[in-house]
Amino acid sequence: MPRVVRRERLVPNIHLLEVEAPEISRKCRPGQFVVVMPDARGERIPLTIADWDRGRGTVTVVFMTVGTSTRKLALLGSGDTVPIFAGPLGRPSETGNVGTVVCVGGCYGIASVHPLARAYKEAGSRVVVVVDVKADYLFYWRDKLEAVADELIVSSRDGLYGDTDYVPRRVRAILEREKVDRVVAVGCTYLMSSVAEATRPAGVKTVVSLNPVMVDGTGMCGACRVTVGGETRFACVDGPDFDGHLVDWDELYARRKAYFDDEIRSLCAWEEERFP
């Protein structure tokens, strides 16, 4: 079973998990994800690949603790194993020299957007990274982002980075300031949909990395279907990247909330068992 090399809390509620997965680290590319199951009774959940080390043969994911599976993952330590760490899944993001690209990340997406920003930078694009955090103590990977960004803009509600403006408005300000060729947004559905709305009037191509509920992650079940441009697509095999201006966001919100009550029940049952 795949072995955990490192698990650490980056900021409250957000954790990093580095797992030995030599084959995945050899193959993975920015924008792809892995399916992880925390233990034998766990759920299969998709997590975006945040980084990899081909020399050490490891793959890193960053996740936010929300439900039972992520709470279980957050308790793992180095040397522990996970029964499933499968991938790399999904189509890799199309990166390259596109001119100027604005990469937006929030919560777990701050980590997910990093390999994308890096790939755009390496291909010759000018990269503006916009990070959305609630407070300065929730900001992580600043050094990693600074290393790949031509400009790093941090929007923090506590104003400690000098900017409390909400991210969609911030993105719009950049579009007014200079010519932007592409916007990429990774994070919660709300962040992605509001960024897509912010760029719609200007018609700047906006790529979002969708995060619907998945089961197998290989195209077999269709749990992750989303409507894009009026057509049903499977996020796991047709995505996860889609044109943010074509996504049916209301449908995605509803489908992501499908198991809300069950998720609470599951978490309560697990907490009672784990912490009697």
């Binding site: 795949p2 084959e23 193959k27 197998d216 290989t218 079940c221 209301d250 198991y259």
Partner: protein
């Protein structure tokens, strides 16, 4: 592609030799044919419908040894056994049945295993009524065939209970390596056949349990997982290595496997991509593909939520769209998970339903309602994204279509709306596109199926073979296994004739 190609001369000679054996001749003399024909078919004992539709324990209990022997006596031991032609994997049915009649159950099991790596599975899920039992001479004479499927199940259960299988004779190691992609019925069969022929076999499986549709699709009440676990353990004893959570096409490509020294690769990735009808409201919450619904319940054990973490929406009024085995499995599962009403909505009539007859009977006994000649036209939401009703259209049967079944034609103005809070689409699957997409040069047909030479199941790339639903588009477990046997024979020839094995050790890092 033919489901029932003629029997090769070599097999005919083998069957004849077995038929002529002294013990068979003597056994034939013990009971006259007309007495055999008077014996009634032994009924399969099953749990009462009202009890079993509330749990996931197996419905059929299996024949006892006395009944099995009596059932075996019904077999007329025909000189030209039609049953064997009806069997896609060519089990020597008369010999195994006559061994049952003699009470030699272990020997009967070993006889089946010569042709079938998954007898306990096939004894439960094969559509015998359209295969071996359909062509049984006793059926032609009396209308009631020998219960070959029930006997197959009996001997394989006996074998498992009595401490394991007779280990087959394995050829000496050849040092040649074969890769099998997908641990479904086709892949498991190829793995068993090649391991017995002395090759090193690695099975790559994308999910975390082996079995493919047998584990994610077919419910516990029809095929208990313990049976599959035993069959997989048997393959492991033969030396087959399983690499789980390995997605060929992503974790490594078919080309990577060839480069790593696998002299032959079998692709048995099945028809994994669920079809939807493309009608409005299909993405409402509460509308599932049968694949998702059954995977949640079977593979992820949602029936044991919240002990297992994966949930499933139980529903109060569940509609399952379709008339095949997957539809029957889904609707019976919905009933077991607590739906007050669980119904089948099928666009043709009862006679055209492709499901096994036994499954339809079981579903009826369990209180499933059947709505024939009905097709949904749209799903209606509750305003918060969840399904609350569906609009349907009545159909009538018109002229026969390409499948020979009468085509359903809409009755104008027959729309009606009915309340449902759970919908499961069981209208078929398409081939999983991952391998065709990531394997340059692999020829695929119009529907995304892999094209093969039916004599050898060889695909368009040298050393690559394929079979089962990824080739057929959507068939049965046993047809997939039939393909697998053909492919395994061809792969064996290629491996033996091919270059000496390279010193490669296969993919690094064990799962």
């Amino acid at each position: 592609m033919s489901d029932k190609p003629p029997i090769p001369a070599s097999l005919e000679a083998e069957l004849r030799a077995e038929f002529e054996r002294a013990w068979r001749q003597e056994l034939r003399r013990t009971i006259p044919v007309k007495d055999r024909m008077r014996i009634g078919r032994r009924a399969m004992p099953q749990r009462p419908a009202g009890q079993r539709n509330g749990d996931f324990e197996e419905v059929n209990l299996g024949l006892g040894p006395e009944d099995a022997v009596i059932e075996a006596r019904r077999c007329l031991d025909c000189a030209k056994p039609a049953c064997v032609t009806g069997c896609p994997v060519r089990i020597d049915i008369p010999t195994f049945v006559k061994l049952v009649e003699k009470g030699e159950f272990a020997a009967a099991a070993a006889k089946i295993r010569e042709a079938n790596s998954l007898p306990a599975v096939c004894g439960r899920v094969c559509p015998q009524e359209t295969q071996c039992e359909e062509v049984c001479h006793l059926r032609k004479a009396t209308g009631v065939p020998v219960a070959i499927g029930n006997l197959e199940r009996f001997v394989s259960d006996f074998e498992r209970r009595e401490g394991g299988s007779v280990f087959p004779a394995c050829a000496p190691p050849t040092g040649r390596k074969a890769a099998v992609v997908g641990a479904g019925p086709a892949g498991l069969t190829v793995a068993g056949e090649l391991a017995r022929r002395g090759h090193e076999v690695t099975v790559f499986e994308a999910l975390h349990e082996a079995g493919g549709v047998l584990v994610y699709g077919i419910p516990e009440f029809r095929l208990p997982k313990s049976i599959l676990v035993a069959e997989v353990a048997y393959l492991e004893r033969l030396g087959v290595e399983f690499r789980m959570n390995f997605i060929v096409g992503r974790t490594a490509t078919v080309d990577d496997l060839v480069a790593e020294g696998y002299g032959a690769v079998f692709i048995g990735t099945g028809a994994g991509l669920p079809n939807f009808m493309g009608i409005p409201g299909e993405n409402l919450v509460g509308v599932y593909s049968a694949n998702e619904y059954l995977t949640r319940v079977n593979l992820m054990r949602a029936y044991d939520f919240p002990r297992y973490d994966t949930p499933v929406w139980p529903g109060r009024r569940a509609a399952v769209i379709g008339g095949g085995n997957v539809a029957m499995d889904s609707v019976r599962t919905a009933k077991r998970l607590g739906a007050e009403e669980a119904l089948i909505v099928y666009r043709r009539s009862r006679a055209e339903m492709p499901a096994r007859i036994e499954e339809v009977h079981h579903a009826e006994e369990e209180g499933i309602a059947f709505h024939f000649l009905t097709v949904p036209t749209r799903y209606i939401g509750d305003g918060r994204g969840r399904v609350r009703a569906m609009e349907c259209l009545r159909m009538e049967l018109g002229e026969p279509d390409a499948s020979g079944r009468r085509r359903p034609v809409p009755v104008p103005g027959s729309e009606f709306t009915t309340e449902v809070d759970l919908v499961i689409c069981a209208i078929g699957q398409s081939p999983n596109p991952l391998i065709p997409q990531t394997t340059p040069g692999l020829r695929v047909g119009k529907w995304g199926t892999i094209e093969v030479d039916w004599e050898t199941m060889a695909a368009s790339l040298p050393g690559v073979y394929s079979g089962g639903d990824i080739v057929r588009g959507g068939a049965t477990v046993i047809l997939a296994m039939g393909d697998a046997r053909v492919a395994a024979a061809a792969m064996d020839r290629r491996l033996r004739e091919g270059p000496a094995p390279k010193s490669g050790t296969g993919p690094e890092g064990k799962a």
